[in-house]
Assembly symmetry: C2
Homo-oligomer: 487 residues x 2
C-alpha cells in the first residue's frame, strides 16, 4: 500500500476529471471491490485479488469492501463490516473498517449494507450513478441487483457504446468514468514504477530459474512449479497463467505435460505480481539442447533484433502503431533474407504479410493489470481518438497503438511462429498474395515459435527497460550462459 | 482422467438412483461445467478448476462444457464448441468435442448453444429439470438465464429446503439429484483412493519442505512459496489456500508476513490437489526453536493423543460424532490434568466446554473437494437422517458426523487454541459455567494454537491413514528430526 496522500490525490484528480456536468448534477461514482471467488465451492476460494481500480483509488486489499465518491459534495465513504467473534476465531482480530478507511485518507465508513442503500438513494433522487464495467460475475450480479437491471445489461455493455450513467438513461457502465480512470492509470506515477520494477525483479528470478531448469529430461510442469513458487515467496503470485511450452507456436499454451527434448525450443512467457499487485511480463525462448541449430539461430536473431529495434524507437511522440509496423517491416526483411517471403517489402507491410508469422500485436499497456485495464475497453485504453483499429491479422491484435508519453509502461514482445494450421489456411485461401514461399516454409514444420519480451517505461526523452537487471537475450549470450549453468 | 468405464458406470448408477418418479416422468439432469474465472479482468483468469460433480460424472477437465443426462431415455449429451482458427493460434490444435465425449463413454455431442435449447425444450414440455446448486457466480447467472428466474433464487436455494426441480414447482436445486450425487461421491472407489494417496504424497512433500524451512529468521511467505511451488510441480496446485502462521490460534490465518521467531509455534495446514483434482489436507505444528517448551509440549502431547485416539476409534459402525465427543472428553481430561479446567468431565463434555479450546469439528469428508461436496449442503453431506446438528461451539462446526462406512475419506484434526477474544467473551458471559480456571489460562496468553491433522480412509474393519508415508507427529520425533535437519 502506498502513502495515504497518494490515494487522496488520486480521488481529488478523479473528481476534477468528472466535471462535465455542472456541480450539483454530477452524481456519484460507485466502486464495488471484489468478493472472494469460489474455486470449487463457496468457502474454498481462489487467492483473493482486489478489483484493480478499487486498489488504485481506495487501496484496501481485502474482500467485502465497496466505496462511493460523491462527485457533487466530494464526500468519500468506504463500506464494509467490522468482524465479529466468529470472524476473530477463523480469521483473527482485525483493525476496524474505520481505521482502514482513515489509512487511505477516507474520513467516513459505514456497514456494507449501507452501500446498496446509498446507491438506491442516489437513484431515487435522480442522480447519475457512474460505475466501471464489472470484470467478475459476482459484481455483475451485485450491480444488476442494485441497479435493478438484468445481469446481461450490466455486464455486456461495453463502455464505448455506453451512456453516461444509470438513471433515466441506458444502464451502462459510465464512459465518462471509464475515460477518466484510463487517463489516470495509463500514466504511471513514480511510486507505481518502483513497484513495477519490483515485479520485474521477481520476474527475473522466475525466468532465471526456468532457464536453469531447461535441460533435456526435465518435466515442464516441474519447472513451472518452481517458477510459480518464487512468485508466491516474493510477491502475490503470477500476474497471469504461466506459458511454458515447446509448442511455442501456440501463443497461449498452458499445458505443461511434456518433457524437455533436445533440439526443440522452449518458450516461456511469464510474470509476477508484486505484493502491491503490480505486474511484470517477460518472454524468453531457449534452445533445449543448450545450443541453437542454425535454423533456430537465424529466426531467433531476427526476433531479437525486432525487440531491440522496438526499444530503440520507443520515445515520446511516436505511436506504438508506428513501431509495430517498423518491426513488421524489419521482420519481413529478415524473413526475405532467408527466402521465406519474397517481393516488395512495402507491399508486404501494407498487406499485413507479417501477420502470418506474428499474429499478435507488438505489445500492451502494463500496470496493476498485466494487460492494463483491459476490461475498461481495449480500444479506449490502447488507442488515441484519431486512431482506428486495423482488421488485419497481427496488427488487429495490437492492444497498445497510442502516441507514447512519459509514464507509459508497455511490453515489447515481437515473435515469429510457424503455425501449421494458419500456414495451411493462408496457402489454401491465397491470403499471402504470392508473398510467401510455401515450399521454403516446409522446412520449418515443427519449428515451434520464438517470442522475446521486455517491459519498457517511456521516459521524458526515450525509454528504460524495467527491472533491476535485464534477462540475457542475445543468442551468443544465451548459449554461453546455458553452457555454464549446465557444467 | 479415469478409464472410460468409470464414467459410464457412474452415470448408469445415477440414473438408477434418480428413479423416484415413474419412467417417462423423471426429466433431465443438467450439469453446467465451469467457465474460466476472471482474476482481475476477463481474459486473465485464475487457474481453471472444473466443477467437481462435472468432473465426477463427465470427466472432461476443460472450460466451456456442459452435459445433460436424460433420466427417461438414458440419452447422454456433452455440449461444447470445437475450436476455430483463432483458437488454434492462441490455444493450439485440440481434439474434437465428439472425441472428448467418446473418451468418457458419451456417444453424442453438440455445440454449446444447444445446451440452452435442450433445457428450454425440456421446460416447455413440462419435464423436470434437475440441477445441483451452483458454486460459481457464472453458473448462477447461466442457470438464472436458462431457467428464467432471478439469480438469487437459483443461488440461494439450499437443497435441504428445496423442491425437486424447476418446472411448475419452486425453482430450486433438486434435492433428489443432490442426495443421489452425495450418496455416490461419499463412498470412494479404489481408483479415487489411489488418487487421494497421490495427493497425500504431494502433501507430504510440501509439509516436509515447510518443516525444513521452519527456522528462526525465515520469512513465512518464503516457506509458503516453496510449498505451493511443489504442489504446482507435482499436481494441480493447492487444494485450499495455505494456512501457515505463528498465530495458530486463528483457525484460517492466511497472512504470511511474519518472520519465524524462536519460542513461538508454527502451525501449517495445507494440502495439494492431484492433477486429477483429488485433495489432501494435513496440519502439523512445529516449535520454531526446534524444541518445545514444557508448556508447548504438554499441550502438543494432548493434541497428538487426541489425533491418535480418533484414528484408533475409526471403523465402520461408529459415528464420527461419537468420535468427536470421545476426543473432546480426552482433551478435557488432559486440560484438567494441567489445571486449566476443573470439575466433572461428563458435565463438561455435555456443556461443550471443549469448544473453548477447539471451536471446530474433528474433521470433514474429503475427495474431489477438500471439504467434499460442501456446496451440496453441509448437513446433507455430513449428517445421517437420524442426526441433528448441535448448536454448541465446536460440535456445531462438525462437518462430518455420520456413521462411518468403508470408503469414507475423512480428516482427523483435533486442535487446542488459546484465543484471547474468545476466552475474554466466555469469562465475561460466564459461558464456561465455572469449569474454566481463568487465572491458570493467563499463562497461555500468546501461546497460539496447535492442530494435528491426518487424512483417513475407513476400511472394511478399521481405518488407514492415507499417503505413502505419515508425516512425523510425535513430539520426540519432531524434535529429533528438526535437530537433524538443522545440522
Amino acid at each position: 500500500m502506498f502513502d495515504t496522500d497518494v490515494y487522496v490525490r488520486r480521488r481529488k484528480t478523479l473528481i476534477g476529471k468528472m466535471s462535465s456536468a455542472p456541480q450539483g448534477r454530477r452524481g456519484i461514482a460507485i466502486f464495488p471491490g471484489n468478493a472472494e471467488a469460489p474455486q470449487n465451492y463457496r468457502g474454498n476460494d481462489y487467492r483473493f485479488r482486489q478489483e484493480s481500480s478499487f486498489l488504485y483509488f481506495w487501496g484496501i486489499d481485502e474482500p467485502g469492501y465497496a466505496a462511493i465518491l460523491d462527485l457533487d459534495s466530494g464526500q468519500e465513504t468506504v463500506y464494509a463490516d467490522d468482524v465479529d467473534i466468529a470472524d476473530i476465531i477463523w480469521m483473527g482480530p482485525q483493525p476496524s473498517v474505520q481505521s482502514k478507511a482513515e489509512r487511505v485518507g477516507v474520513a467516513r465508513s459505514a456497514p456494507a449494507s449501507e452501500f446498496g442503500k446509498a446507491v438506491a438513494a442516489a437513484k431515487s433522487q435522480g442522480r447519475t450513478v457512474h460505475f466501471l464495467p464489472p470484470s467478475r460475475y459476482y459484481n455483475t450480479l451485485l450491480l444488476s441487483s442494485l441497479l435493478g437491471v438484468p445481469a446481461e445489461a450490466v455486464r455486456k455493455t461495453a463502455p464505448v457504446q455506453g451512456g453516461t450513467g444509470c438513471c433515466g438513461k441506458a444502464v451502462t457502465a459510465s464512459e465518462e468514468l471509464v475515460r477518466a480512470v484510463i487517463s489516470m492509470r495509463l500514466i504511471k506515477e513514480p511510486c507505481e514504477i518502483e513497484e513495477i520494477d519490483k515485479a520485474c525483479g521477481i520476474g527475473w528470478l522466475m525466468h532465471t530459474e526456468a532457464r536453469r531448469g531447461c535441460r533435456p529430461g526435465a518435466r515442464e510442469q516441474d519447472i513451472v512449479g518452481r517458477m510459480e513458487g518464487i512468485t508466491i515467496s516474493k510477491g502475490w503470485g503470477v500476474s497471469f497463467t504461466t506459458i511454458l511450452s515447446q509448442n511455442g507456436e501456440t501463443l497461449h499454451n498452458h499445458s505443461h505435460h511434456q518433457t524437455i527434448t533436445p533440439g526443440r525450443l522452449l518458450l516461456i512467457d511469464a510474470g509476477a505480481e508484486s505484493n502491491t499487485h503490480y505486474a511484470s511480463d517477460f518472454t524468453r525462448t531457449y534452445p533445449c539442447s543448450g545450443k541453437f541449430t542454425t535454423q533456430q539461430r537465424e529466426i531467433y536473431d531476427i526476433v531479437e533484433s525486432c525487440n531491440e529495434l522496438a526499444f530503440s524507437l520507443s520515445k515520446p511522440g511516436i505511436t506504438y502503431r508506428q513501431i509495430h509496423l517498423a518491426v513488421a517491416r524489419h521482420m519481413l526483411e529478415g524473413l526475405s533474407g532467408l527466402g521465406i517471403v519474397r517481393g516488395d517489402i512495402d507491399e508486404m507491410v501494407a498487406e499485413g504479410t507479417a501477420g502470418l508469422f506474428m499474429p499478435h500485436g507488438l505489445g500492451h499497456n502494463m500496470g496493476i493489470d498485466v494487460h492494463d485495464m483491459e476490461d475498461l475497453g481495449e480500444d479506449l485504453v490502447g488507442y488515441d481518438e484519431d486512431q482506428k483499429r486495423s482488421s488485419q491479422l497481427g496488427l488487429g491484435s495490437l492492444r497498445m497503438a497510442r502516441r507514447l508519453c512519459p509514464g507509459h509502461v508497455i511490453t515489447d514482445e515481437p515473435g515469429i511462429y510457424f503455425i501449421p494450421a494458419l500456414i495451411r489456411k493462408w496457402k489454401i485461401e491465397g491470403t499471402d498474395k504470392g508473398f510467401v514461399n510455401f515450399p521454403a516454409l516446409e522446412k520449418y514444420h515443427g519449428f515451434g515459435g520464438i517470442r522475446l519480451e521486455d517491459d519498457v517505461l517511456i521516459t521524458e526523452d526515450g525509454a528504460r527497460r524495467l527491472g533491476p537487471e535485464r534477462l540475457p537475450i542475445k543468442s551468443d549470450e544465451i548459449e554461453s550462459i546455458m553452457a555454464e549453468e549446465r557444467l
